[in-house]
């Protein structure tokens, strides 16, 4: 019996963001934008969805008088990602 893949993570951009954040301690919005090659608008929307699900934390501050957005994965996010990978294995190995 295959488990459904978490719809929140089963999206190209959101999955890319979560995969990046699993590997690093925290990352700036600019870094996520560069690595995923997403547009700022789309990335903002997807980050907000991940934040609403408590998968990531978004911290807003200032650096050299410019707004700075930093993202960090939460424990819930790590758990969801691990579960997603576990379920993904079932599909791959079928």
């Amino acid at each position: 019996m295959f488990k459904d893949l978490d719809p929140l993570l089963h999206s190209q951009l959101r999955l890319a963001v979560v995969s990046l954040l699993v590997s690093v301690k925290k990352a700036e919005f600019t870094y996520l934008k560069e690595q995923t090659k997403a547009t700022a608008g789309n990335l903002s929307v997807q980050l907000q969805k991940l934040k609403d699900a408590d998968y990531i934390e978004i911290e807003k501050s200032f650096k050299d008088n410019y707004p700075l957005t930093t993202c960090k994965i939460t424990k819930t996010g790590i758990k969801a990602f691990e579960e997603y990978v576990k379920n993904l294995k079932q599909y791959i190995n079928q």
Binding site: L13, S19, S23
Partner: protein, 195 residues
């Protein structure tokens, strides 16, 4: 990156490529390793020359060069941290191990009047070796790991040598543990940035 339906195989590719992206970023540019390597190398040689010429003036090279090095390091680290748009776990581990090294080194130097110079230099070389071995392991950079072993060898050698030769041991220790691996690390970092 567009929003579209993805297959499980594509999901796996995304995860793999993103994790590789974060992993392949060499965390350290080697500047501080090279900088401190040369600073201690010259200070040790100046001190050695001073001992040969029987002048105490050469000892002042340490209280002048070391605090100056400390100030430059703090400025450099702050600038680098400001530029960084991502903080990896590797950055964090390196930060903690070098902080521990600086504290251990400062404590050893503060206790120098009690323990005397030979014991202090012995411990400094042990600490040099330890710090580079840990950094080499974290960065998975073999020249730093191999180089660190020279500091342990120099530390042991210094026990059997006179005070003046200890400065040569110290210079040898930083040459093999810091300067050579540090330059190799810098060139690898630069080639990675230029890719």
């Amino acid at each position: 990156m567009e929003e579209k339906e993805i297959s499980p195989a594509e999901s796996l590719d995304i995860i793999k490529s993103m994790i590789d992206t974060a992993k392949n970023k060499l965390a350290d540019d080697g500047f501080l390793i090279v900088f401190w390597g040369w600073l201690v190398f010259f200070a040790a040689l100046i001190n050695y020359t001073g001992v040969l010429l029987q002048t105490d003036a050469a000892y002042f090279v340490w209280p002048i060069l070391m605090p100056l090095g400390g100030i430059i390091s703090v400025i450099y680290s702050r600038r680098r941290a400001k530029k960084g748009i991502v903080r990896t776990y590797i950055d964090s581990y390196l930060g903690y191990s070098w902080t521990a090294f600086i504290i251990a080194m400062s404590v050893t130097l503060v206790c120098m009047p009690v323990h005397g110079m030979p014991t202090t230099y012995f411990f400094l070389m042990i600490l040099y070796g330890m710090a580079t071995l840990i950094s080499g392991g974290i960065l998975n950079f073999r020249p730093l790991i191999i180089g660190s072993l020279f500091s342990f060898v120099c530390a042991v050698a210094s026990v059997f040598l006179g005070t003046s030769e200890q400065f040569l041991c110290l210079a040898g220790s930083v040459l093999f543990s810091y300067i050579i691996p540090g330059h190799l690390l810098r060139s690898q970092y630069k080639s990675q940035v230029n890719v």
